[in-house]
Symmetry: C2
Subunit: 297 residues, 2 copies
C-alpha cells in the first residue's frame, strides 16, 4: 500500500498505473473512497465495495476545513492516521492520499462549487456553507484522482444527492456509488463523531435508529399515513429521550430533496422518501436517516 | 475531421483514441479550444497553437446561454456552423464538438462554479453572473474533453485570469494557455461581435486600439506616470470619438485583477498591469486591452 501526501506524486503514480495497464490492453478501473479519516466499519464497507469493482482503490483522508462552520468541530474532529492506515491495509487499499491543509489549499480558495435547491434544507439549512465546502473539496479530489467510481455512505444522504447532482450537472465522468448505512448491533449508525459521546449520551442516541424504525414500520403497515403524522410521531419519539435536542426532523423526496407537505400521504411522493434527522446529545450533533423506497410504500 | 453533437459519443471517441495511443506506448496529448463559434482569425490562431503542441485537437462551438444576462445578445449572437467547420478543417482540427443547448443543459443546472475576487470588477461588474456562466461551462467542457491544454484568447484577459484561477483552485489537471490578441490591419481587435457594427461604428471602434497604444507608449516613455493620469488620458482619448459610450476603463494588476489606486505609479505594481476597456458603439459592446509587462515598465 502506497501513502501519498502530495497531489503531484499521487497523480504521477495514477498516470503511470493507468498508462502501464493501457499498454497491456487493460483499461484500469479506479475507485475512490473520500473520507475525513478516523475510519470505522462504515468506511470499511465503502472500501470493500470499491475493492470489489475496481482494479485500483484510492482512499483519501482529509479533514476539510472549509466544510466546517465557525464554532463547529474542525479542530477537535478525531484523527488517528495510524489506525486508519491499518484499516486501509486490511481492506486492500492500493493508495492512501493523506494531504495537509496546505497541500489542498496552498492559498485560500477563490473558487467554489455550489449546488442550489438540494442544499436548501436539512444539513444545508442548519450548517450554512457546509455543502459548498463539501462539493468544492469533492470536486478537487475527483480532479486529482479521476476515478471511475466514487463511494459515499448513505448516512449522509443529502450529501449523496448533492454530489450526484454536481457530477451530472458538471459532466464529471465518474459514477457516484451510495453505500448502505452501517450500524452497531444496537442500531446506532456508525460515525466518527460517536467517540464524542459520554456513555449516557451513547445510550440516549439509540433513540434515533429506534424512532426511524418505528415510523418506517408505521408506513409499511398503513399506506395512508400523512407526512404530518409521521413527523409528529418522530418528534415525539425523539423527545421521549430527555438528553436529545432536535436540530431537524425532515421528510423529503429523494434524491430530489424536495419537501413533502404535511397533508400529503407518503403515497403521493414521486420519488423515494428520505426521513432524515439531526439531533444533538450534549455537544455532539448526530445524523441518521432511513429511505422508504417508492415501490415499497 | 469528426463532428460530434453528443457528449457520450465525443467521450467514447476520445477514450478510444487515448487507449489506442497508450497501447502503442504513446501518451496522447489533447488540446481543447473552447469557442462560441462564428470563428475568425483570432480563433484560428488558437487552433494553430493547439495544433502545434498536441496530438489531437478538439474545437468546441457552443453559445452558452448561462453566460448571457437578460437583455444581452444570446439570441442574436452570430452563428455560422458551415463556415466554422470549414475553418476548423483548414486548421487541421481532429474533432469538433457542436452540442445543442439541450445536450449541455438537459435540465437547468443546479450546480455553479464561481470564482470570487477576480470577478468583482471589469466585465464581472458590468455583466453580473457572466463569469459564473463562463466558469461553469468551461468546467463542463474540461470534464467532457479532459484536455492536457486549453487555449483562450487574451482579448478576454479577465476570463483568462478567472479560468486559470479556477483550474488551480480545483486541481483541474489542465494547462491553460493564453494566446495574444489578433487584430485587423487597422488595429481593431478581432471579435465575433464586430459583425454587429455599422461601417460608421466600425471606423469609430478604432479608437479602442488607438487609445491603448497611446497610453502604452506614454508609459514606455515616462516611467513616473500615475495610474490616475493614465486613466484620464484613456477616457479623454476614447471620448474624443463621439460614437463611443464607455462601459468601463480599468487599470488593474494581472492576473490577480487587484485594483491599482490612482495615485500610484505604474512602477508600483507587483504584477503585470492590465489596461482594459469595454466601450459601446451603438448597441455593440466591444472590449479590448493591453498588458504592460512588469519588467518592461
Amino acid at each position: 500500500m502506497k501513502v501519498f501526501t502530495e497531489i503531484a506524486s499521487l497523480r504521477t503514480y495514477l498516470k503511470d498505473e493507468r498508462f502501464r495497464a493501457a499498454k497491456g490492453g487493460q483499461n484500469l478501473k479506479v475507485g475512490l473512497v473520500p473520507t475525513m479519516g478516523f475510519l470505522h466499519e462504515g468506511h470499511a464497507s465503502l472500501l470493500s465495495e470499491a475493492r470489489k469493482h475496481n482494479d485500483l482503490v484510492v482512499l483519501s483522508i482529509f479533514v476539510n476545513p472549509i466544510q466546517f462552520g465557525p464554532g463547529e468541530d474542525f479542530e477537535t474532529y478525531p484523527r488517528d492516521s495510524d489506525k486508519d492506515l491499518a484499516l486501509a491495509d486490511r481492506e486492500g487499499v492500493d493508495a492512501v492520499f493523506l494531504p495537509s491543509v496546505e497541500e489542498m489549499y496552498p492559498n485560500p480558495t477563490k473558487t467554489t462549487i455550489s449546488v442550489n435547491e438540494l442544499t436548501a434544507g436539512l444539513c444545508g439549512a442548519s450548517r450554512p456553507g457546509h455543502f459548498n465546502g463539501v462539493t468544492t473539496v469533492v470536486g478537487k479530489l475527483l480532479h486529482i484522482v479521476s476515478p471511475d467510481n466514487a463511494y459515499f455512505g448513505q448516512k449522509d444522504a443529502q450529501q449523496v444527492a448533492v454530489i450526484t447532482q454536481m457530477t451530472r450537472d458538471l459532466n464529471m465522468d465518474v459514477n457516484i456509488v451510495p453505500c448502505p448505512i452501517v450500524r452497531e448491533q444496537d442500531g446506532l449508525a456508525l460515525s466518527s463523531r460517536n467517540v464524542y459521546l459520554s456513555s449516557e449520551e451513547r445510550k440516549a442516541a439509540l433513540v434515533l435508529s429506534r424512532s426511524l424504525q418505528l415510523v418506517k414500520k408505521k408506513v409499511e403497515q398503513n399506506e395512508r399515513t400523512t407526512v404530518g403524522e409521521l413527523r409528529k410521531d418522530l418528534i415525539q419519539a425523539i423527545q421521549s429521550e430527555p438528553l436529545s435536542q432536535i436540530d431537524y426532523v425532515e421528510i423529503v423526496q429523494f434524491p430530489g430533496m424536495t419537501p413533502l407537505e404535511d397533508r400529503l400521504s407518503t403515497e403521493d411522493a414521486h420519488e423515494d422518501i428520505l426521513i432524515a434527522l439531526a439531533v444533538r446529545f450534549g455537544k455532539t450533533r448526530l445524523i441518521d436517516n432511513v429511505i422508504l423506497t417508492k415501490k415499497g410504500l
